[in-house]
Symmetry: C2
Subunit: 351 residues, 2 copies
């Protein structure tokens, strides 16, 4: 069996019939913010699987309607999503709200504050074969770099799984949802969709692709999950302010952990455990991420603080996951391969 055949066989094996499909309609989307205790867009039991037809905000944030916006880049009308047109026509973005279109909330039965919600990313499909990277003066880590706005329409080769950046450059795709969130504490009221927080949100963490588990602390009854801000591929940092922004269709499984409380988002992939630190100051975000890693090694691996600190120095990598959403995200990445006693993960790539 060739490697390609093996990959296909594996994908087929992973295919699961979702328990529900959640569409993006004027009734199931929020534009630029999230909030707690809204009427459920869907209610699921722990263990159930939902396919979500999510929407990118790209092409919907100017005065032009999406057909005109994308048409100017040569995208034919039939390649513009119908739900994008509907949302643009019928949903009003609150003044002062951010740009992202979020779909939800999905209530998970029996989820209560203090629980942990695990979101398994079983699959992510592309809804369109093109995306946009948008930057310019005042944007990203180097706000003074450019004198003019710059929007780049990037076609994807979905067969070969690459983004066609230029004649010389092709970038392997790694689709993930920039935003996955539970609803924030009610004390915060409406929360902009731009800065991430303990509830997750706009974490823009590229390790949240197919095969990961994202763990989020539950603040409200039902957890109340939102997602949006699809990314075809993005480097650590999202440094110019955006990824290849694109409409994606993730297939997510929701698993409730009643016996587990966490403070901040964590991720587990087939190869690594990741803890996160969130702060406007990278120096602070780094310290939080590392303290979370030390806590993880003590709690989950039974290590002393001294050994956890030493191991972090020798084998844990600190990276800047996201540096452009007001609140920055630093992650600490703990490789699984160093532990002989490591339990098997649900996702085994190529396995």
């Amino acid at each position: 069996m060739s490697e390609n055949q093996s990959v296909r066989a594996h994908s087929a094996e992973l295919f699961v019939q979702p328990d529900a499909i959640l569409c993006s309609t004027p009734e199931t989307v929020l534009w630029g913010y999230i909030a707690a205790n809204l009427p459920p867009a869907l209610t699921v039991k722990s263990g159930q699987v939902v396919e979500i037809e999510a929407l990118s905000h790209q092409g919907l944030t100017t005065n032009k309607d999406p057909e005109k916006f994308f048409g100017a880049y040569g995208i034919p009308s039939n390649e513009v999503l119908a739900d994008a047109k509907t949302v643009f026509a019928e949903v009003k973005r609150p003044r002062g709200a951010s740009v992202h279109i979020l779909t939800g909330p999905i209530y998970v039965e029996e989820a209560e504050p203090g629980d942990t919600l695990e979101v398994r990313v079983l699959d992510i499909k592309f809804r369109v074969p093109y995306g946009v990277n948008n930057t310019g003066p005042g944007k990203g880590v180097l706000p003074g770099l450019l004198k003019e706005p710059s929007a780049k329409m990037i076609r994807l080769d979905l067969e070969r799984r690459v983004a066609l950046f230029s004649d010389d450059i092709q970038i392997p795709l790694n689709p993930f949802m920039g935003i996955m969130a539970v609803s924030p504490p009610t004390s915060l009221g409406m929360v902009s969709s731009t800065p991430p927080g303990a509830w997750g949100g706009n974490i823009d963490l590229k390790f949240c692709g197919i095969g990961c588990s994202l763990f989020l602390p539950v603040f409200n009854t039902g957890g109340q999950f939102f997602t949006g801000d699809g990314h075809a591929v993005q480097g650590d940092g999202e440094v110019d302010g955006g990824a290849i922004e694109i409409s994606l269709k993730p297939t997510l499984q929701f698993i409730l952990h009643k016996d587990k409380a966490i403070k901040l988002p964590r991720v587990e992939t087939a190869t690594d455990y990741l803890t996160t630190g969130l702060d406007v100051d990278l120096n602070v975000a780094m310290r939080i991420a590392l303290q979370e890693a030390v806590d993880f090694l003590q709690t989950e691996k039974g290590m002393t603080a001294a050994d956890a600190y030493a191991l972090s120095s020798l084998a844990v990598d600190l990276g800047i996951g996201e540096a452009v959403d007001i609140v920055n995200l630093v992650y600490a990445k703990i490789p699984k391969k160093i532990f002989k006693s490591n339990p098997e993960f649900w996702y085994q790539p190529g396995g």
Copy 2:
């Protein structure tokens, strides 16, 4: 041919007879600082290869002599390096100097200020099969974590290339020199070996292992190269203040680029280009590293600023290379595989 055999064959192929061997003696080491325009420990021509018997400071920074220090951990006297004993007995560390033992300077003929010195890491051998990780109160990214000093003697299995951290944990080795430096500008006088700078120094960057090229800007005639601070393995950040500190023997080739000026250290590996940003504030270090990446993409790959910024957002990873040496290092890692026109690198792992 098995994978192991292939690796061995490749190592044999890489073996080169060095043009010179530089030992660590009281005449060729500096303890805790570097300075410009010292008498050369060795002079080489561009292209020449030097094997350097470098020394770790571990075991030499207490009042105990190295035999007693290591003996307390069960290391027999014959496993303690003779040159470590000599340096401890005969070299006086200046008051206020840092801990590292540096070997050099190596003068490179015809190197002048404004040139770039490329240091190819052809090989790194282990001089001893053990190393130390040393941390405690006031040390590292979490100075308040521990109440007691903690020094951990870690044995290496050099056949299997792993550090034996505990019964459950083994860490694959990745030896590299924590310090590689040219001499700093004379305006700075004596410079502590702890904070890294434009001259390189204590960059503690784990990508500087076998098969990399480190590029350093030349500030003084001859470049004047120093190295030390061997690390058996270290994660991004070196978060508890140290790696597995160990005496290593690097084989380095010095290549002078007369037609090339750079501002800050850069690294090229078989798979990536890395730029660096150095500052006490991680937020600033990140912006510098990214600006360097954008400059690199414009200068070396002929891209516009807008395309370089967009590509950085999609495919460049920002990581925290080192966060414990007063001046922090953030790197921007540009993958080579995205460029169809990428020129071949000198080192081809497994090739």
